[in-house]
Symmetry: C2
Amino acid sequence: MHSQPQPQPKAVVLLSGGLDSTTALAIARAEGFAPHALTVHYGQRHARELDSAARVARAFGVAQHVTSTIDLRQFGGSALTAEIDVPRGRSPDAIAAGIPITYVPARNTIFLSLALGYAESLGALDIFIGVNAIDYSGYPDCRPEFIESFEQTANLATRAGVEGPRPIRIHAPLIHMTKAQIIRRGIELGVDYALTTSCYDPAPDATACGECDACLLRLKGFAEAGLPDPIRYQRPPLL
Amino acid sequence: MHSQPQPQPKAVVLLSGGLDSTTALAIARAEGFAPHALTVHYGQRHARELDSAARVARAFGVAQHVTSTIDLRQFGGSALTAEIDVPRGRSPDAIAAGIPITYVPARNTIFLSLALGYAESLGALDIFIGVNAIDYSGYPDCRPEFIESFEQTANLATRAGVEGPRPIRIHAPLIHMTKAQIIRRGIELGVDYALTTSCYDPAPDATACGECDACLLRLKGFAEAGLPDPIRYQRPPLL
């Protein structure tokens, strides 16, 4: 007698199309989940992320890819959503000091809430988010204490949390990794980082600026990992 | 010498256009806040709530009324968003037992997250939500322990929580009130309940069905308060 193969448990993966969320997707798959990708189009300037997210989702053959649209520009207050210049050419220390102007109010709380609604509708008890607290650009909603608190809230908020077979889990597998460690782990798992986009302010032809915080953290990560970054930049990287 | 009048602190009030959220708005105003109303259009069948929300916001002269659109039907799984018949003519005990089919996955978590983003953009530290745990229709995200947990998460998630002058507060002033108590309090504060809508499935002319859980809880509340419900119903109320 053969035992029935167990179906893979479903997981929702928040997928921006950037380096971190793509690596989180690869980790979810490697851990045996059937990933369902959720991309949130929130009025970000860098809407080219959406193209990257679609390319990554296709490359991974995810079970489903939902793009949710919510216009956070209605609330104002961020470089990603309003007409403020993003900082350029900052040192790693300057990037790490304080909460930057690119902070979007409550962004990860909103993203995780939507992922929670999607997960519960799917019958999934696992949500993956690619935040990291090391090279994390100073965002409060990338810290472990935020993720733990949201997980507790999720279990109080939902039918799944109240009646489910086990608690809902928010996975933040990159949270204690440096950018270099994230890249090395992704390469081990076969991630093609040429599909990803990190730049806050890419050119019309989608090449990265090479000078915003996101580009600088990415370039530093590849440099420290001793690997070439396969995406194109508008000018030779500063690093 | 005259002291400068203090500006009223801003608060975000989640406003569906129903009886509860309208009363929460009246309470926020009575407590000295300058209310900013946030209505979420999430693909609910009863989109007539949106008209009620606009009428209520106008009647209260709120400082700003933002309507955010997010299509939760993309995730599936609820009578409010998918093609499922809403229950009719249920007894109060039946309504109170278990989580009903009208439950929308993670709805209040999503609503509060959006309110948090709006509040932080405004510089507000106070959010009002009209949930109640007595006549609450069995939703897990109407319980006090959910509200407390979300408040904790909000303070970890945001710049305002990390750097603000005092913690962010989630106000749920109706949470321990019966529907009759809510209505009496609203009447004391001058609320015109003719502006509000509660029905899950109103007729094309916007009259309430009188038989869904929301109508039955509302009618029971007015009956217990000894007051007439000023809205129109499709047929004589069962109560």
